[in-house]
Amino acid sequence: MKTIFLSLVFIAVGFGRVWAGDEPPTAISNKEAIDLVQSHADYVWTLVAAALVFFMQAGFALVECGFTRAKNAVNIMMKNLMDFSVGSLAFWAIGFGLMFGITQTGWFGTSGFFLSDFKPDGDPWVLAFWMFQVVFCATAATIVSGAMAERTKFTGYLLYSVFISALIYPVFGSWAWGSLFNGNGWLENLGFIDFAGSTVVHSVGGWAGLAGAIVLGPRLGKYTKKGGIKPILGHSMPLAALGVFILWLGWFGFNPGSTTAANKDIALIFVNTNLAAAAGAVLAMFTSWLKFGKPEVGMSLNGGLAGLVAITSPCATVSPLSAVIIGAIAGIIVVFSVIFFDRIKVDDPVGAISVHGVNGAWGTLAAGIFNMGGTSAKIIGVQMLGIVACFVWTFCAAFILFKIIDKTVGLRVSPEEEGEGLDITEHGGIAYPDFEVSSYAQQ
């Protein structure tokens, strides 16, 4: 197919020249024509992938909505709409420059704010690249929404959205990915492998979510006075499942799109992405089956996502068999991780910390262990360094941010507002006016 396409281009270019009475095609003019087609294909693939990654916002919104109560559905939708919208503006104004600007130190960039690298008659690649990067930034930002669901004050969440997109995500991103554009990060210079962002995107979101969930404290009614765990049921498993399917689809842009080039590498990345997700879902199902006696839907859905997060870093540099192993281990890890965070009373309604934080770290480590080009203590050491650096920077920065928000505008709604539901108290409306809501009393 590609050969036919290229031949047509040859012919078209050739005829065009003959018709115009120009010189016949030469090796150089042919090469220029081929390069132009390749360049256009790169643009198309990068932007199509960006659209797929954007669609993941819908996936996150539905997963979070399904795993939480109906009385907070409007709030979840507003948070997902606004962390993308506010985050896009913050990343345009500040974040992109910090992440991909020219750097002297390797710790953050200092040019390209407000997309100033784009000149009307200049190379528009910066625009395609920015579009692809802004949807990644928004992915990290929106992960946090789930971990902090059902009790966070909306104004506090808006403030957080600005800071993660303008500062927390871009600074770590510049360490690992700066050289994809004008930057030059210290971590990537050590050989850190994170192809599509298990650490850069997912762990950043997961660890920020962990900080948020700790500062907020658990939802009312999640833990009994005696210290027992009382699950708070999500209101729609079909919505949660639809969200997971949408995320899975979006990941076919997230990972293969990270080539930002239309080339043959995307086939392996596609296959690895799918196999890891499948293995994650299957193993999470069996783990929950063995542990609880029934194949539990919430854990199985989280398992698919855990596999996707884990393969995000190694997707371009491991074999399909390795992808299956990486996804399978992620599926087991996520079940025990969810139980662990429940036990230590970090209330994460959707499992975002386990799926994105913990499995982001696992995937990054796996990229070192299963590397097709061979592995060594040094490679694994650098991967570990990246994992730790991400945790320290993100957790500390987010913890301080949430504490400051808590002390100033407030991070958590009042117990009355929480009982009533954030839809009515924060947004003055409800999600399902024609249906009875049965979960108001959760004290």
Binding site: I229, G298, D342
Partner: protein, 112 residues
């Protein structure tokens, strides 16, 4: 006149309705209810944590019949709603003082 209230398993509703109309019952009121009896709730799993469902979903049927029909109605419900498993429900019989059809003003057994 007697009012018969039966709490039954939701999936038995159709069968009970068919049987009651079969013996000449002319009207039934149905509501979705929750509660517990000897069955007590049961345990379920959500995202790895076990929880107790205290109130089990049931259907409540209310039928008002002439006193002479009460026995047959009770029998019919008891037979058709029964599965033999725990949680089949209960039937209560109450006296009814008066019944009035709102449209026509008819009262007593003409109204039921």
């Amino acid at each position: 006149m007697k009012k018969i209230e039966a709490i039954i398993k939701p999936f038995k509703l159709d069968e009970v309705k068919e049987a009651l109309t079969g013996i000449g019952v002319k009207g039934i009121t149905v509501s979705e209810v929750k509660g517990f009896g000897r069955q007590r709730g049961h345990k379920e799993i959500y995202r790895g944590a076990e929880y107790q469902v205290d109130f089990v979903s049931k259907i409540k049927i209310e039928v008002v019949v002439e006193a002479s029909m009460a026995g047959e109605t009770l029998d019919t419900i008891q037979k058709t709603a029964r599965t033999g498993q725990i949680g089949d429900g209960k039937i209560f019989v109450l006296p009814v003082e008066e019944a009035i059809r709102i449209r026509t003003g008819e009262s007593g057994k003409n109204a039921i």
